[in-house]
Symmetry: C2
Subunit: 506 residues, 2 copies
């Protein structure tokens, strides 16, 4: 711990040993998952699931151990803890309550239901049959409300779910942010999509995949991703995972016919990884040793993917290298055309294919439906109709099928409803707020980026966002780093300025 938390005594040492073990078990679990997604032979899947279940049981037993609970009680009754120690114990207590309050039978039944629901979804989806999933969703809602009821300190079940991933945020607070966003984004998306699309033909030429991958790795090396403490591999769905204190890996996917797929996956996951790699060494192996919330985490993936990676300055730095690497594919393409192509805006039905601008409308739609479901204002049998109505209102589109409607995302079909989506858009909002604070503190930052020099940006983020890990609540972190509470203004300014200029609209 930092000097402010130096209080070596038996109680603290016991707690640190427990936390280190929990962190190490978490890292082993992450390795099992990473290997499953990267290199596990097909025939070994069932055995791996059994290993994961065993490790989960062993980790759960340690995380809920009564002796550990007594250590936490003892620590919380102490009056001589430093602020950092107090925060560490508070986070540990939050995790302990999460792990202990739900009865074991309830957790087992819920987990079983989650598996059944997911299985059913994998066949209902190709059959385009939302109705078949309604009974599963109804049970999922029941389980979710029951889970929230074990945490009566949250009045609104949605608050409980939001707090799990975005500590301290409430449905009210998220709702306010999202209302402001929608109000601004719907007309902006209308105007931009009226303006007509840029040239993108060259993005579907053939780009050899190995070259794409090494090019992407050279960019994130420039960003500051530390390959001595991580690596990149290929998976079907890209992700970032912490396998140990100094082992933060990312994955990507690559398509020969679309060079933006691998590049922006790599930049996105590298953003998550820069956050995890930047946490102070002394916090590793404690409850402070990782990113503090889904929203702040997503802010970093989005910042490095979008604010940086889709900027004019980025392409000023890298277009030459890209054209040197792919001389034939980019022979008839200018830097400006590349910049415009990677910022194409189009209203679409699929969240994961959406551009920077319309993505938020997909998220807001889901968030509002979730809130109505949890609040009892919307019945699950009406979800698909409500989905279509909301898409017409927010995106001006209607899905021709359930597959592209309420069956689209896996999130609700894992057995839980609530809190699954808001982090994505909170991340977008915060990405701009952090970036604008970094710009203010580092005049001329854009010129750095245009030279592929990320040292000042990465340095500022490391100091103000990454190093603290979980030391402060998300709200405290945002306030300390940017001088104000979360606000949509920097994000809206960023979008208006960028897309106004790109598409000649205001």
């Amino acid at each position: 711990m930092t000097s402010e938390t130096q209080l070596p005594d038996p109680l603290w040492n016991d707690l640190k040993a427990r936390w280190q073990e929990l962190a190490d078990l978490g890292g082993i679990g992450s390795l099992l998952g990473w290997d499953q997604s990267t290199y596990l032979p097909a025939g070994a899947a069932a055995g791996r699931s059994r290993q994961q279940a065993l490790l989960s049981r062993m980790a759960h037993a340690r995380a809920t151990d009564a002796g550990y609970g007594r250590l936490l009680d003892a620590a919380q009754s102490r009056t001589d803890l430093s602020p950092a120690q107090t925060r560490t114990v508070a986070l540990a207590r939050k995790n302990f309550e999460e792990a202990t309050r739900l009865p074991a039978d309830f957790v087992a039944a819920w987990s079983q239901h989650g598996g059944d629901s997911y299985s059913a979804w994998t066949t209902a989806r190709p059959d385009n049959d939302f109705a078949r999933m309604v009974p599963f969703l109804e049970k999922s809602l029941e389980f979710s409300l029951q889970a929230a009821s074990y945490f009566p300190e949250f009045g609104d079940p949605m608050d409980y779910f939001i707090d799990q991933s975005d500590e301290g945020m409430t449905a009210q607070g998220v709702g306010d942010v999202f209302s402001k966003l929608r109000e601004a984004l719907v007309p902006l998306a209308d105007a931009v999509t009226l303006a007509g699309p840029p040239r993108t033909d060259f993005l579907s030429r053939h780009y050899p995949t190995a070259t794409q991958l090494s090019l992407g790795e050279s960019v994130i090396r420039d960003y500051g991703y530390d390959f001595t403490r991580g690596r990149q591999d290929l998976t079907h769905h890209p992700f970032m995972t912490r396998l140990g204190g100094h082992d933060v890996r990312i994955t990507t996917r690559v398509k020969a016919g679309d060079p933006t797929e691998a590049l922006y996956s790599t930049l996105h996951e590298a953003g998550h990884a820069l956050y995890e790699q930047g946490v102070l060494d002394e916090y590793l192996g404690t409850p402070l040793g990782g990113g503090v919330s889904a929203g702040v985490h997503e802010s970093q993936s989005r910042l490095w993917e979008n604010q940086v990676g889709r900027s004019r300055a980025f392409w000023a730095a890298y277009f030459g290298k890209f054209r040197d690497t792919f001389p034939e594919q980019l022979a008839d393409v200018s830097e400006d055309e590349m910049y415009r192509a990677v910022n194409t805006v189009a209203r679409s039905l699929i969240r994961t294919d959406a551009d920077e601008l319309t993505y938020n409308l997909h998220v807001i739609t889901r968030y509002e439906l979730e809130r109505q479901l949890l609040g009892g204002q919307l019945a699950l049998r009406d979800l698909n109709d409500a989905w279509h109505a909301a898409y017409e209102q927010n995106l001006g589109l209607r899905a021709p099928s359930d597959v592209d409607g309420a069956l689209q995302d896996v999130h609700w079909y894992f057995g839980s409803i609530g809190g699954a989506f808001q982090g994505y858009t909170l991340g977008n909002v915060l990405s701009a707020q952090f970036y604008s604070a970094a710009e203010k503190a580092n005049p001329g930052l854009e010129n750095d980026i245009a030279r592929a020099d990320f040292s000042r940006l990465h340095g500022w983020l490391r100091e103000n966002v990454y190093a603290p890990g979980g030391r402060y609540t998300p709200a405290e972190l945002v306030e300390r780093a940017t001088g104000q509470a979360m606000t949509v203004e920097p994000y809206l300014n960023y979008l208006r300025e960028k897309y106004g200029e790109l598409y000649g609209v205001n």
Copy 2:
């Protein structure tokens, strides 16, 4: 368990659940080790060691659990167990005793000493300073003798160590085998090395590594290695490891300037893997679910590497493919030249570089020194001199330095002396005995191999050697598969015939 072991009752089910957990913890530990050797980022080494230590502690706690001991007691007092159940419980008991008899303090001190000794060796070796290691070796010998003393049922400490890896074998039995081997091999090696070496210049041309690797993988796919239950990756030292019931991976290393390096490493490790992949499904997750001894294991790596992979028939099958793959490198090379080149015999100082024929003399030398050390006939301060004398006698060579003498192998410097080497040569002996039995049962087997058809050989080995896993003791397995106890005759016949023909000697 097989039908002969169907005895579903609570006791048996409890034991099976314990065994499955121990196997799964073993698999997780293997994954930690596999990842450490293949893909772990350099900066993550310390964290990985801590994860491994934690998992070892948790696995050890389960392996030595008093409740588990009581279940074994109960099972061993039962009179209604099938023979397979009796064997399963006996092996479980053997593992339990191994894990419980050594006092925890003793194990901790020994392990600490092992680390210190290994550290010291890594600097004494470049300094060519055997004398510096003498105090460490003396302590290692003390620890080893002390460990053996916890197993008074073995009269000779060497018997205890041999039994750990080659159940049921004794120092006397191994010594008898080795005497016969030496008697035959010293004059054979003399005669062969007098005959002058074959042409090998083409083996140091440039062979692109990726092509070498896929060629090697195509060979072991022909052998019967199942890539849906395993994979091959690159490591500094090749190895085979079981990460789960259906997850048996191998590694290899590759040199552009020597195509035999990757090929024979791959064939060797694939031999180990074919054994592990061939164990009956119903034995997986029980004490029967793996190879039964070091000697039998090594017999399979050697059989597929040497009996098969260095045979005339093998090159009849594959030389065309090799020349198609490397047309320039092999333009002036005949099939016969390739066969001769991969069977070059040369007396050398280094065990790991030794050929099929002289390798055993390296092993026998070490085995006899180990036996004298454990028996008190040789003092550690005299080990290096005894080493040089034994090399002059067995191989007609004297190392110019300690580095190529008693400092050569890491085995003794991990803190333990005894039982480290004999498995290699027992494996060679058994490889020929199994192969000759397979030939007898499958007339014309060599013609199969010359067509790259390994189905009869693999089928016979699977049925007679692999499927049983630990169901029989090594001695029972050899007797059942070959109709006789372990014997050196098939191996000596194989070597005399092959090298007699190759080098024109008798």
